[in-house]
């Protein structure tokens, strides 16, 4: 399971980076989304994949007695999903606006000489 997830993470990172390096703005967005998912998967993986009990200590005990599943990475992933969702929504609007104003989806064309601005 770990190895499969590690390979998946690697593929997502590689695909995301590749797409970010492309010239098309739409591919840029897709690349950012893939990269973000890769990061989430990585955090999930680094929290260790364990088949454990829920992290609740019994009332009469002081410490954990059994292997437990770490809840923190899930909280982190949830937060980062929400944040990157917001950012991706913004990115899509930005790109749409840029496409309307600039009339191109080629990143190499975004080089207006703006000596006057």
């Amino acid at each position: 399971m770990e190895i499969l997830l590690a390979i998946m993470t690697g593929i997502l990172y590689a695909a995301g980076t590749y797409l970010i390096l492309r010239r098309s703005i739409v591919k840029l967005i897709i690349g950012i989304i893939l990269f973000g998912n890769g990061v989430n998967l990585l955090i999930f993986l680094l929290g260790r994949i364990t088949k454990g009990e829920p992290p609740i200590i019994e009332p009469h005990l002081e410490t954990f007695q059994d292997i437990y599943a770490d809840p923190v990475p899930q909280a982190l992933i949830l937060t980062s999903i929400v944040i990157s969702f917001g950012l991706q929504a913004f990115a899509i609007i930005l790109v749409k606006r840029a496409y309307k104003v600039l009339n191109t989806d080629d990143l190499d064309m975004l080089n207006t000489k703006d000596e006057d601005s």
């Binding site: 680094l46 260790r48 913004f90 606006r97």
Partner: protein, 503 residues
């Protein structure tokens, strides 16, 4: 609970940004409230600074969860100083923006988002939790995306796309680094990480983690080779926005690097060497870029990169003296960099362009204003009694003493080139005769403004110039302060004790 005061700036900015949304259409009330909010934040920041200076580090546990488990806010001397500088620049830029930013932009919630940006900056300086730092970084970049693209002009959107991509990429790298360090140490509290990372017996993975952090913060603070988004985007938004970006946004990255290097990865030879090499390249790329440009605001953008190199280089040497130089430079740089972009804004308002080929005769037209500008520009260069001189002296000496002669050469070269660039701006924009340019239609020139509006343009520049004059002439106080911060940073045990052994 006196230590709760360190959360007040956060509450203040949050309150005002929400309050401003209720006056979406009424721009006049928004302007008044924004200046009021920033003034209150300044008062709070001064109070925090004095308290921390007297009583030492203040720590707040969010929700009263004890330290390594909950999120902590730590107001040590460095954080308190940066809060104060944020409040000073924030107030100046807010006064400047209420008059210089177009009504159309203000009508889309410009000021509300501006307060959110300041909220994120304050939070990033205060937090003692790595994941919380990520969240504050996100608040900063989300607000900055809005500020950089609000208005939607052609070149602005071009700049925004570049700025967005690189900054989002940097955040994702930060998240990767953060996941790795959680996997290694099992904690997110910075003080706790600092303790636990020593017992991790996997030096290669720790180094990988450190380099990931370095890359992520390098993107934010425009370290070579991750800096090309900065000159491509910083000159596009309104001057008030570039002022706050150049003064504070790149410095948050530097702040995070200082924290990481001194607290979590101290004594990492590989990382120090890497930082010094990167600093030299950053300085070279920034200074040569600045020489080549003809647009004043682009020149300033490249100078930001150049001077980031000073701080990264000092951080690479990593001893008390060098760090004190870095802190002093940081203090000086936040004030002066904010100010030069405001000056760029005033020049644009006077001449309707910032292209040096098309402007001239500023000194003849307005000698008093030119005198004000030259004080600020000389502070940037570091002409002796002014503020840039003293930190450069510390950095030169410490790089000489630790035998980093290449870095020393780069520092000197960068100072020289900064001088050349400023001299070029002075002779082109101020001394040269005004070339023949047709007056721009539908543009309100500086002379046509009402006296009150003129003062609103000039007051923030005067205010920041006075602060930087104080930094220059009262250098003794700032030096004592930065030595104290540097000693605190180098003895990270103090920070760890303050966070983990409260009571």
């Amino acid at each position: 609970m006196i230590s709760n005061i360190i959360t007040y700036p956060l509450i203040c900015h949050m309150f005002f940004s929400i309050l401003l949304m209720f006056f979406w259409q009424n721009i006049r009330i928004q302007k008044t409230l924004s200046v009021l909010g920033n003034s209150i934040a300044l008062v709070i920041a001064v109070f925090i600074f004095i308290t921390v200076y007297k009583d030492g580090t203040l720590v707040v546990n969010a929700g009263n969860w004890p330290a390594p488990f909950g999120i902590v806010f730590v107001g040590d001397m460095l954080s308190a100083t940066l809060l104060l500088l944020t409040a000073i620049s924030g107030l100046a830029v807010s006064i400047f923006s209420i008059v210089s930013v177009m009504r159309a932009r203000l009508r889309f919630g410009f000021l509300s988002v501006y307060h959110f940006l300041l909220l994120g900056l304050n939070g990033a300086f205060l937090t003692g939790d790595v994941f919380n730092l990520y969240v504050w970084f996100e608040i900063i970049i989300i607000s900055s995306f809005v500020l950089i693209s609000i208005g939607g002009e052609k070149n602005q959107l071009e700049g925004a796309v570049k700025y967005f991509t690189l900054n989002f990429f940097g955040s994702l790298l930060f998240l990767t680094a953060l996941g790795t360090i959680y996997g290694l140490t099992g904690t997110l509290n910075m003080a706790d990480i600092a303790i636990k990372i020593e017992s991790v017996n996997n030096p290669i993975l720790v180094d990988v983690c450190a380099v990931l952090f370095l890359t992520a913060f390098g993107v934010k603070s425009a370290v070579f080779p991750l800096n090309f988004w900065l000159p491509a985007s910083y000159h596009t938004p309104p001057s008030a926005v570039s002022a706050i970006f150049s003064g504070l946004l790149t410095k948050v990255g530097v702040y995070a690097l200082i924290r990481m290097m001194t607290l979590i990865f101290p004594g990492d030879q590989f990382l120090q060497q890497l930082l010094i090499i990167l600093a030299i390249l950053t300085i070279l790329s920034g200074s040569f870029g600045a020489i080549l440009q003809n647009n004043i605001r682009r020149v300033f953008s490249f100078l930001i990169i150049c001077h980031i190199g000073f701080m990264i280089g000092g951080l690479g040497i990593l001893n008390v003296f060098a760090i004190s130089g870095v802190i002093f430079y940081l203090i000086h740089d936040i004030v002066v960099k904010t100010n030069i972009f405001l000056i760029g804004g005033i020049i644009y308002r006077i001449k309707a362009t910032t292209n040096m080929k098309k402007i001239g005769g500023l000194y003849k037209d307005m000698p008093k204003l030119s005198f004000l500008f030259i004080i600020v520009l000389f502070s940037l260069v570091g002409v002796p009694p002014l503020s840039g001189f003293w930190p450069k002296l510390s950095l030169f000496l410490s790089s000489y003493e630790s035998g980093e002669y290449l870095l020393l050469a780069a520092f000197i070269l960068a100072s020289l080139i900064t001088l050349i660039v400023i001299a070029k701006i002075w002779s082109e924009a101020f001394w040269k005769k005004q070339p023949e340019v047709l007056p721009r239609k539908r543009f309100i020139y500086f002379n046509e403004l009402r006296p009150l509006q003129k003062w609103q343009f000039i007051t923030p520049v005067v205010f920041l110039a006075i602060v930087s004059l104080y930094i220059g002439f009262g250098a003794e106080h700032i030096q004592i302060l930065s030595m104290r911060i540097a000693e605190d940073l180098m003895n990270s045990q103090n920070y760890i004790d303050a966070v983990l052994n409260q009571n």
